[in-house]
Symmetry: C2
Subunit: 146 residues, 2 copies
DNA sequence: TATTGTTATACTCTATAACTATA
DNA sequence: TATAGTTATAGAGTATAACAATA
């Protein structure tokens, strides 16, 4: 047995607190958490189906439809039928979508930086490296490591 | 702007994955996430009111009642009226409660250790130190740092 | 017949408000 | 009147199932 609290017992409340920290920032930009996740995912690269987009942000395909409707109505994303298969929707960020995303992210990261500033330099660097490594793992490997 | 993903964009999915990892372990011990959180909180020290217990684990006082009922029925906690003020309930872990808690926690932490083993030593140490520091902060300071 | 996106339905989780018993 | 605990109600979030369009 270790002498530390459970990882989950530290991360779950931290996760909740970060959500509480960031929702007001997102609201200033007219975004919900899921809408912001959509903008982040599409910024990487356009996606060919809504189901793929949903999966990439850990959501159900039925859950993001309302958010896509809204983002499209506001001109932040484009959602056009694929000419080669008219069942699927091609999804991409508009210039305005990228602008909103960048400005929301700037607000969020500046708040996060203020938080990280409380940590000693070397812990902060190790923390961020470890976090990026763990976030890059497929969820199944976290659920059942080794 | 930093060159990293948002903290929240890494921590929220990690948090979800850890929950998925730990629920099966808890279920083996007949515990839900909230029931386990109750056992962990009471292990630190007995508590004088249910509302204080609820707050310490980030729950609403109305939400933990069913779990307390069940834990008491199974003899894992004691819940006795305070003789000096019969409105309040004194809460504490029984020996059996501590046994179940220890065995569940052993299962959880061994799974977590397998996950942490993927990280380089110094990153892992920095990660755990940073996490403990952040988890010790009051939620308000995370929601609005500085 | 199978698949993409959508809508409709049911279920779970959580928060709010009412109730009781004590003080 | 106020507080601890409880119960009841309502709301949000989520998952499952049915549906329409296209392949």
């Amino acid at each position: 047995m270790t002498d530390r609290p459970d990882l989950a017992a530290m991360i779950i409340p931290l996760s909740r607190a970060l959500i509480d920290a960031e929702l007001p920032v997102l609201r200033e930009h007219g975004l919900s958490m899921w809408a912001y996740a959509v903008l982040l995912a599409l910024d990487e690269r356009p996606l060919r189906t809504q189901a793929a987009l949903a999966e990439s942000i850990g959501a159900d395909k039925t859950r993001i439809i309302g958010f896509l409707d809204d983002l499209q109505r506001r001109g932040l994303i484009e959602r056009t039928p694929d000419p080669t298969d008219r069942r699927v929707r091609l999804l991409s960020l508009t210039a305005e979508g990228r602008r909103v995303r960048d400005s929301a992210q700037a607000g969020i990261q500046s708040k996060e930086e203020r938080l990280l500033a409380r940590l000693p330099d070397e812990d902060r660097r190790g923390f961020l490296r470890a976090l990026q490594a763990l976030a890059a793992l497929p969820p199944e490997e976290i659920a059942d490591p080794r």
